[in-house]
Symmetry: C2
Subunit: 762 residues, 2 copies
């Protein structure tokens, strides 16, 4: 672990206690969405489109409704009409009309697996059987899967009322014709032409990336009960209970007051468990039947109809001086949004060049609809594809200039005060500290030996989020403190927030009892995502801790009969002072808490935090690979992830986040992709065929934590969960170039693609 | 409804909206303790003593443990050793050692039905079968049921280490010998001898009252899971989740941090659902088996082993002048505490003479252990027996002086500034307003006709409680407000607290979403009991409402760019002011709430209240009865309950409380009693034999609400739930005197006792 500057002497932060939800999760007692059982519960299932693009001419549910045990069937028409507008999902926003149409198709189905109708029945098998009795008449329409084809003037149009939202000065994108290009944004600074004129070398390349799925173990689920008094309760595994509440409220045309969302434990999300799919459907089925309705997705449905990443088509042109100074960059990112607008291209634009201080730059982003599932956030959404393309070109520049790729990067790395792509100055950041840590690492200084082996490095960047978090605390007479959280716990939220409260109070970790509650039981809290939760939730914990310190100090002053100024709350959680007789007095934390009930009552406090001082994160990965020329198989021999984590609250969970992100990125680099046939059908919608990496596909992921504290957080927290997924695609790709001399311009680099390059062409 | 003085023009308070839990309760969806179902749950049952008093020589569980399906058996020895001390139960306190011994008997069983051992098995029938295989060797001991006999020197002694705790100056109660008298307290003021010397008439009478059970519909239940990480979760139907937490923590020797209590809905409590019986047993069985364990009581067990009231033996001597002025009172109250000390005699002492301003008085109270179940709180605990005796003597004085019994009472009723039995001045009270309302009532001014009919009146008094309540609120962008409660909802808590928050904010009742949560999710909140919840919870709601008003005002000021002093929160929940350009501005509550997310975030606040400004309650009841001389059956022809309720927040629920209390009091007056045979066995432990009144035993209970606002509460709330159970026994008894000329000195006045008086003696 590398810490810059000197880290304070924390007592709890930096330790590795067991998470509060640990025992329940290893013994199977933790309750996930699938564990919800309610009296009189019905089971819902969804009929999905067999076509990539078709008009729905007629839905006949009569035969299905006649099946004994079937209680209700709904279609898009059962939703209230949506006014156009936007709905904040926590990581992006959406048009409610499109959100409804994605949940149950409107007049058209727009992708293979698109939901068409939903059945509630007395058991799941009956519901499934009923699906086969629903008669849907389709009129097939031409479809488009590829983002490049979708942008052509002759492409089949998905939404005839869609016009390009142009957020680019001086761009010539037409705004008034039918198109699949939902949005064109541009960020620029400096003088691009002048910049390229300065360059001694210019490299321009095109890249494509496939569509990747988050691959969470637990499929989407949702149970809803629409009570006779109009109150709707939703149980679901989600990253954001309040986001589900807001989405369900909007889609059902109900005020949020009518909706309570109970967040169950979540078996992975990675951004994909922010949008709603089943919850509003279950609610409408419940309204129609008077019973609670439980729904869950098959794995096939998860692949077909929940949000994977965008497939992308990207162009990067970078100019450099002979000494390695990067002087100009022109980047274009085209992201397939799937069936409805709203890819992560905007974040891709803002991240693409963030690892470098390039004075003259322009980045264009295009959001393009295609006949594929509506994309959703996936860990650093938008950043992996954008930075992959940039890191590949930077690697080629280093080779062209015969420079060490790390030295080139260090030379161009931004520092505090340099401006980002939007022209705003960077706060304290760890870009150079990360590169330096790589240079000094055992891995980078080791020799790599053998045939067809190579080493690559790549950097990664993610903003990290702020947003709003709320919590309440209650101080118990035994010196324990209940910490009530609105954030669902994905990667150790309970532990990391409890640790920050314990540190603030000076009490042991074990004294804090964190609990995740429903949306009626705590203040508004944004999604667990964007690498914001440990940051924003930590701020709330800190604020609450300070308030408790203040109140305990006041209580001690009252007990001792003196002014509060005569009393000190010490960092060891003792309270000292002199009483009204001038006698020295002291309470331990437990002692003052024990006195609470008899000296005015217990202490309970709520707080909300929404600060925009999140600390951006930089990462750099080192990959060693070996290529088998016979089979095209790539073995990752060694892999090290270096990252500026600000302050590692719980280093084990930080390391886990980094290892998980790196593993997913390696999957993107070498194995995973959505595969559509010529009918636009997804043909590998199963874990067997989709090929996420499993344990024997990966080496141990070594982790080096760099700690450049975020000055915008009381404990220096930056987010840690997103950025580790950014570097792997380029690190592996650059390693492959080192190993076999081939530059790849597409991920994943599957054995087939390796062999395409290595075998003699036909 | 009579309001004194002028009541403010409330918008929400005084209306009768549907309670938030209403639909769930009428549709059967509300989840009570019996509805708890957990994965891998075991079922627990309890072996109970067949003897009233016996030493346990040996417990052999080997045969029971060998029964297939039996997972664990525990006895008293499985509890950690308790240091002596006291534990606050919310309505009274207890020695933890005695509390453990009551939960599972120690070396002795002290009453018929006393718990001896507990079994956990795979199903309830197996657990029950196993009970029959537990071999307990008892050594029978002499027992004592009657409180008078228990006080005799020759009585069988229950606890050889028990000595009288004398809290009476100048009392000659011995403190150093074996005894069943656990406590003797005395309250006195004035000069008793001088007072009686002034009197023209002195009447002294002795009374006895039987033991009554609260008779809640839902039997006690408790489910517990002792997790592998040491965390204990308890699901139970209780009046106080935090009280259960504290009791379970003490009995199990665990910090409260380890215990979470989830309060389920409660099917009646009336004070009886404050002590724990099953919860710590279920927890220990869970610890032993590793599974959650669910337990519930049979109705027989409820009667045998949960807390009924004390049977009492009382003496009242009152002196009056010829003009009706009461000048002296000497009262002695002996309360059977049951097997362990801790009857409600203390409250009886403080209530006995509260309806009168008598200058010279002495009240003695004795807490006496007997071989009957440990008593618990029951609606105005201690007051009904004490005030019954006083109201009977006052009635006899009125007859002796030939005064209207109401005029006598009005003449002696206390007013603000008069002193109570402890010598402290009364705050604003409604004693005279209640008596005046009775005098003016249609019922009191109606003629009563027929043979063997009579009318009686009686007053009642209860302090009402304050204690500690906590709540949190979260303001939603649709203008709704989540109200998070620690108080379990017995008589409409959610509604009455939501109404007070709505009134404070100036928003409709429907805008408030109250929710009762577990002990980890809200600040400390004392039991729902003592008629404290609407008072103390209302204070918290008011404080939170004021804080929300303040914060919304600040937000508007920030939006308008002006100082907060230029902004007004109006009582119609609009916010008005002028912006920085001097332009008049206005937000409705919904409008400002909609702006919260985009102007700094949502609002969430917690508050705790513990005020000692509860407003005492007075009631007066009128009973018309008719006696059937052939069968002894008494028909209550008409019944009116008049009560100073301070302010009726939700008049329907206030009326319901009063009707319920009156019905229970009439049951005590005429029907209910514990019946022990000569072996000390309870012989009527079923609803069939115990004879609580059912609908056809009662007339409609007419209610007249008098509103003398409590100056110690922002909305004038006094408690309403307790005092209506106080007057019925004396009102009925005095009516019987009017009907058939017989003064009864025991309740209940059953047909047998009527016939004993009316039929020629053998």
């Amino acid at each position: 672990m590398v810490a810059t500057p000197q880290k304070p002497a924390y007592k709890v932060i930096g330790t590795r206690p067991v998470r509060p939800d640990g025992v329940d999760k290893v013994t199977g007692r933790a309750a996930y969405g699938a564990d919800v059982v309610l009296e009189g519960m019905l089971f819902g299932s969804i009929l999905r489109s067999p076509h990539a693009h078709a008009r729905i001419k007629r839905i006949d549910t009569s035969k299905a409704l006649a099946l004994p045990g079937v209680k209700a069937i709904i279609t898009n028409a059962d939703f209230p009409t949506q006014e156009s507008g936007t709905l904040d999902l926590g990581e992006g926003s959406a048009n409610p009309k499109w959100l409804v149409d994605n949940v149950l198709a409107g007049d058209k189905v727009l992708y293979h697996g698109h939901a068409v109708a939903a059945v509630a029945a007395v058991d799941w098998h009956t519901a499934e059987e009923a699906l086969g009795l629903i008669d849907v008449e389709y009129e097939l329409l031409p479809f488009v899967i590829d983002v490049r084809e979708a942008m052509l003037a002759a492409a089949p149009i998905l939404h005839h009322d869609l016009r390009t939202n142009v957020r680019a000065r001086n761009a010539d994108t037409p705004k008034d014709r039918e198109t699949n290009i939902a949005m064109h944004m541009r960020v620029e600074k400096g003088d691009l032409d002048a910049g390229f004129a300065e360059a001694d070398i210019v490299i321009e390349r095109e890249f494509t990336t496939s569509q990747f799925h988050q691959g969470y173990i637990e499929p989407q689920n949702g149970t809803a009960h629409w009570n006779h008094d109009g109150q709707i309760t939703v149980w679901t595994s989600t990253q954001g209970a309040f986001s589900v509440r807001d989405q369900v409220a909007t889609l059902l045309g109900q005020p949020v007051a009518k909706i309570k969302v109970v967040p169950m434990e979540i078996g992975g999300g990675f951004g994909g468990k922010i949008p709603v799919y089943l919850e509003p459907v279950a609610a409408l089925l419940s309204k129609k039947t008077g019973h609670p309705v439980k729904m869950w997705m098959s794995r096939e449905a998860v692949f077909q109809a929940t949000g994977p990443t965008s497939a992308t088509w990207d162009r990067v042109k970078i100019g450099a001086k002979r000494d390695g100074t990067l002087v100009a960059a022109d980047v274009s990112l085209c992201f397939a949004a799937g069936a409805y607008p709203g890819s992560a291209v905007g974040a891709g634009v803002l991240c693409a060049l963030a690892p470098y201080a390039i004075p003259n730059q322009r980045i264009d982003g295009f959001d393009v609809v295609t006949n594929t599932p509506k994309t959703a956030a996936y860990r650093a959404p938008g950043a992996p594809a954008a930075e992959y393309a940039v890191e590949a070109v930077v690697d080629e520049i280093a080779r062209a200039l015969d420079m060490d790729p790390l030295d080139l990067r260090l030379k161009n790395a931004p520092d505090e005060g340099d401006t980002n792509s939007s022209g705003a100055p960077w706060p304290r950041i760890g870009a150079k500290a990360v590169i330096t840590a790589i240079k000094e690492s055992a891995h980078y200084n080791s020799e790599i030996q053998g045939e067809d082996v190579g080493r690559g490095i790549a950097l990664g960047f993610w903003f990290n989020g702020g947003m709003e978090s709320s919590s309440s605390v209650a101080v118990n007479p035994d010196g324990s403190v209940s910490l009530i959280l609105g954030s669902t716990d994905i990667g150790g939220t309970r532990a990391s927030l409890a640790m920050q409260l314990a540190e603030t109070l000076g009490v042991p970790y074990e004294a804090i009892k964190p609990q995740v509650v429903d949306t009626d039981s705590v203040g508004y809290t944004a999604v667990t995502g964007g690498s914001r939760t440990t940051f924003a939730g930590g701020w709330v914990a800190y604020d609450l801790g300070q308030e408790i310190r203040k109140r305990l100090t006041e209580r001690a002053a009252r007990i001792w009969g003196v002014d509060v100024s005569a009393v000190t709350y010490n960092d060891d959680a003792t309270i000292t002072g002199t009483d009204k007789d001038g006698k020295a007095q002291r309470f331990t934390f437990e002692e003052i808490c024990r006195r609470l009930p008899s000296t005015g009552g217990h202490i309970a406090v709520s707080a909300m935090s929404r600060r925009n001082t999140a600390g951006p994160a930089y990462a750099g990965h080192i990959a060693d690979v070996k290529v088998d020329r016979e089979t095209g198989k790539v073995t990752v021999l060694r892999y090290t992830a270096v990252q500026d984590v600000g302050t590692a609250i719980h280093p084990s969970y930080v390391e886990g986040q980094i290892q998980g992100g790196a593993a997913q990125g390696i999957g993107m680099a070498l194995q995973e992709e959505y595969w559509y046939d010529d009918q636009g059908h997804l043909r590998n919608g199963s874990f067997l065929d989709y090929r996420m990496p499993v344990a024997n596909d990966l080496p141990p992921i070594e982790v080096i934590l760099v700690e450049v504290p975020n000055p915008g957080h009381p404990f220096g927290v930056r987010g840690v969960g997103e950025v580790p997924i950014v570097p792997p695609q380029a690190a592996i790709r650059n390693a492959l170039r080192d190993a076999i001399g081939v530059n790849f311009y597409h991920t994943p680099v599957t054995p087939t693609r390796i062999l395409d390059e290595l075998l003699p062409r036909a």
